[in-house]
């Protein structure tokens, strides 16, 4: 009888079988012991791994939803939304509002349920509700991910306060800060830096020391019936529409008036009192004029 080529697989001797079985048991025990010894480290690495992945997912959500108001680096936009990447936020904010839970709870609940109150707030926009539980777009796991991302600024925020890494210290008007310079919990008030010249329109519109216009006004989308800015009108086609808004006002006058006295004319469908009223004090006349010209330029440089 011809044997197939694979007949070597057939072990006959029971002793060899028992021997192989004993070797297999010992190999299994050795491998399981090895796994048992490194199990604590494996679990720690996996915990860090999934925390890291939550931060990655949170970064994506932040980049898609949050950065227009809170700034690409989380340092906030003056008049639009507070800095989260700030020593104040990580060390003082909870004490100021009297929150007894953790910062994680505070951030997660704010992301989820928003900040509906506008009482004594210096921010132009309300924090919307983001959680699906409260009518927003995000699932609970996404709220947790974006919270993990915000809290990941902590390491850097705690080292703020040096000239290289200044703290965008922003006490909120809704809860006057109890931090004091004397006990070291707040930075010593610095003399305001005198502007060395007129600021550029780009700086004013979207810069870190600007007016925070970009939080509510989109420069890339036109303001049309099916493309409306949710908080403030879009501005890609402003040079066409500005002159047609208020009878008797040309485009430049209209924009100038809208900046210094926003409530004088409110575009249909928007609320009065959203846009800050104090731009005339915060910018020089020269800067406002520069900004108006820049906004009216169809080929504006970003």
């Amino acid at each position: 009888m011809k044997r197939p080529w694979y007949s070597f697989l057939y072990v006959r001797s029971p002793l060899v079988k028992i021997g192989l079985g004993i070797v297999a048991v010992m190999v299994s025990i050795a491998v399981l012991l090895f796994l048992g010894v490194i199990e604590d480290r494996r679990m720690a690495a996996q915990t860090a791994n999934w925390d890291g992945r939550a931060i990655e997912k949170g970064a994506e959500i932040y980049a898609n939803n949050c950065y227009t108001c809170h700034g690409p680096d989380g340092k906030g936009l003056p008049g639009v939304a507070p800095a989260l990447h700030s020593k104040y936020f990580f060390t003082q904010r909870l004490k100021d509002v009297g929150w007894t839970g953790s910062l994680h709870d505070y951030v997660a609940s704010t992301v989820a349920a928003g900040r509906p109150s506008k009482v004594k707030s210096q921010w132009a926009q309300m924090m919307p509700t983001w959680s699906q539980r409260f009518g927003g777009p995000l699932r609970d796991d996404q709220v947790n991910n974006v919270t993990a991302f915000v809290l990941n600024w902590e390491a850097d925020a705690l080292t703020q306060g040096t000239p290289d890494n200044p703290d965008p210290w922003q006490p909120f008007q809704d809860a006057p800060s109890k931090a004091m310079a004397e006990d070291g919990s707040a930075p010593v008030a610095e003399a305001p830096v005198e502007p060395t010249g007129p600021r550029s329109p780009q700086e004013l519109f979207a810069g870190a020391n600007g007016m925070g216009c970009s939080g509510c006004h989109n420069l890339d989308l036109p303001q049309t019936a099916d493309s409306r800015g949710p908080v403030g009108p879009n501005m890609a086609n402003l040079y066409e529409t500005a002159g047609t808004r208020v009878p008797g006002e040309d485009a430049a006058t209209y924009i100038h008036n809208s900046i210094v006295a926003p409530n004088a004319y409110i575009s249909e469908g928007y609320m009065a009192g959203i846009m800050p009223q104090n731009f005339a004090e915060r910018m020089t006349e020269e800067e406002i004029n520069g900004l108006v010209q820049w906004l009216l330029d169809p080929n504006r440089q970003r």
Binding site: P14, G21, A24, V31, L35, M43, E60
Partner: protein, 537 residues
């Protein structure tokens, strides 16, 4: 006292030894220690054979035959594939039960439970990986079992019904594996099962298909109801069906005996149950030693593979709003996906698989050839091999390599940094991604060898697509790595090209990578880097 005269007669030591032997005999269900010793020394049993007693006394052994034909105990006759399938079912039951402890089948909990299992339960990852490996091996081995039966012609009379129950068991195994797919509630699970159940929708007429789909998913789309249904199918209903058919199948196997090698009996005869006394191999001890050592060795192999080479994947949490690029069914349904690419959904998704199943069941009745010898069955064997090759080709067509290519820039980025899973960039990891902006036109070279390799691949991939795709001209890519946060890098892929209209086009994709993220979800040597202490800064 009755003990005392016994003691006086036999002495103390002998009495203790007898009592010990008595207990031993009860545990082994009828075999005294001396007989075990004779078994191990390879001595023949006495008459009447004392080694048959456990078969009548012990419940677990009463379903095993007392002796086998020598020819069928050869490993190379059956490869122990049926035994292995049964064993894997028990492995799956035990690991599955352990996994159930930490699992709740709701969309809110399922995925976080997976993460908790991996990061917070000792040996949790091992259990999950074992369960997954066992499931995939079970599909493989049940299929191999069927192929072996086909090639040796063992489905022929009188074993037609055994073959029928075997086909049912194969189908149940596939569905068991598939229903378990959804439970981790990640993107891989969600979309594979969405594709799978959408095939049920193609069942004609329309109202039946829609109802079947609705019953399987519990709603028009998979959600909390669908997860609960798949969970119950996976842990209760399908195992029960499998259990039932297993016993019918096994009863038939024992009843008819394992078919002999075809050249040992006359054509058309079945002498498996007429074993001459000199060809008998008794279960105790020979077959038991063989089976036990085989299963122990197989278990060791599984543990070693799981510990060092195999990880059950876990992708991002299921997101019904975003379909990942290149969604695939489980590998054992690739052939079905391949069919769906070349034919209509009703024909390829329902009618052809149905016909295939009926054909498979009908094989013993279609094949009227009484001979089981290979040289008499050329037609059957060749058509079987052809069917196998067709399945493999269809499976290949089911993979994303066949007929689903996205736009070149999408594919280029997907190759290097896929939406889900690892890819070469995540494999080299955070530490090997130096900050900076790298333009492929400048052929940048950094100090990091592994990163240079990525840049080179990026460049080569763009060049390859430029050659292949006429709408993708003068392309170049810019890869920027910036520090987004402490321990978090932003990786931006930008690809620029000139479209056929002569306009400049641009594709941008942004990813984030955290320092601690370990992308293990790929089959390959596991990375034990966490064992080493972190490098001192």
């Amino acid at each position: 006292m009755a003990v005392q005269p016994e003691l006086e007669k036999k002495g103390f030591a002998q009495t203790v030894l007898d009592a010990a032997d008595d207990i031993f005999t009860r545990i082994t269900a009828g075999i005294p220690a001396g007989e075990v010793r004779r078994m191990l020394r390879g001595e023949a049993p006495g008459r009447p054979n004392p080694r048959l007693k456990p078969h009548s006394e012990a419940f677990l052994l009463h379903i095993k035959p007392t002796y086998y034909h020598e020819s069928v105990t050869r490993f190379t006759h059956t490869f122990r594939l049926g035994l292995l399938s049964t064993y894997l079912f028990f492995v799956e039951t035990i690991t599955g039960l352990i996994l159930m402890i930490w699992y709740a089948p709701t969309p809110e909990r399922a995925y976080t439970d997976m993460i908790r299992l991996l990061s917070n339960v000792p040996f949790g990852q091992l259990m999950r990986d074992l369960h997954r490996l066992g499931a995939e091996l079970m599909v493989l081995i049940v299929t191999a079992h069927m192929v072996r039966t086909y090639l040796t012609g063992s489905y022929k009379a009188p074993r037609q019904f055994t073959w029928f129950t075997g086909v049912i068991l194969l189908v149940v195994t596939l569905f068991l594996s598939f229903s378990g797919y959804l439970l981790p509630w990640d993107q891989l699970a969600f979309w594979a099962v969405t594709i799978g159940t959408s095939m049920a929708e193609a069942v004609p007429p329309k109202v039946v298909g829609e109802t079947v789909n609705l019953l399987a998913r519990g709603a028009p789309d998979i959600g909390a109801n669908g997860l609960m249904r798949f969970y119950l199918l996976h842990v209760l209903f399908l195992p029960l069906v499998l259990f039932l058919f297993f016993f019918v199948h096994y009863y038939k196997v024992v009843h008819f005996g394992i078919s002999l090698p075809s050249n040992e009996e006359e054509i058309g005869q079945d002498t498996a149950n007429k074993v001459p006394a000199d060809r008998r191999v008794y279960f105790l001890p020979d077959v038991m030693i063989d089976e036990a050592s085989f299963l122990i060795g197989f278990t060791a192999l599984m543990i070693v593979i799981t510990a060092f080479f195999f990880s059950a994947p876990l992708e991002s949490i299921a997101n019904p709003q975003s379909t990942p690029l290149h969604t695939v069914a489980p590998w054992y349904f690739y052939w079905l996906q391949g069919l769906l690419k070349i034919a209509d959904k009703t024909i390829a998704g329902v009618i052809l698989p149905g016909v295939l199943l009926v054909l498979l069941i009908a094989i013993p009745y279609l094949d009227r050839n009484p001979s089981r010898r290979g040289r008499d069955r050329r037609v059957a064997i060749i058509s079987g091999v052809v069917a196998g090759i067709v399945m493999i080709i269809l499976s290949w067509m089911g993979t994303p390599y066949y007929a689903v290519q996205g736009a070149p820039p999408v594919e280029i980025v997907q190759e290097l940094m896929p939406e889900e899973g690892m890819g070469p960039v995540r494999e080299i990891g955070y530490a090997h991604l130096p900050l900076g902006k790298y333009d492929t036109r400048e052929k940048p070279v950094t100090e990091d060898e592994e990163f240079n390799h990525i840049l080179h691949e990026f460049e080569a991939s763009i060049a390859a697509f430029e050659e292949k795709d006429p709408t993708f001209n003068q392309a170049y890519g810019v890869l920027s790595v910036t520090q987004e946060q402490p321990s978090l890098k932003r990786i931006t892929w930008e690809i620029f090209w000139i479209s056929p209209e002569g306009a400049q086009d641009k594709f941008v994709r942004t990813f984030f990578l955290h320092e601690n993220s370990l992308y293990w979800e790929q089959y390959g040597l596991k990375d034990f880097s966490f064992v080493r202490p972190p490098a001192q800064e």
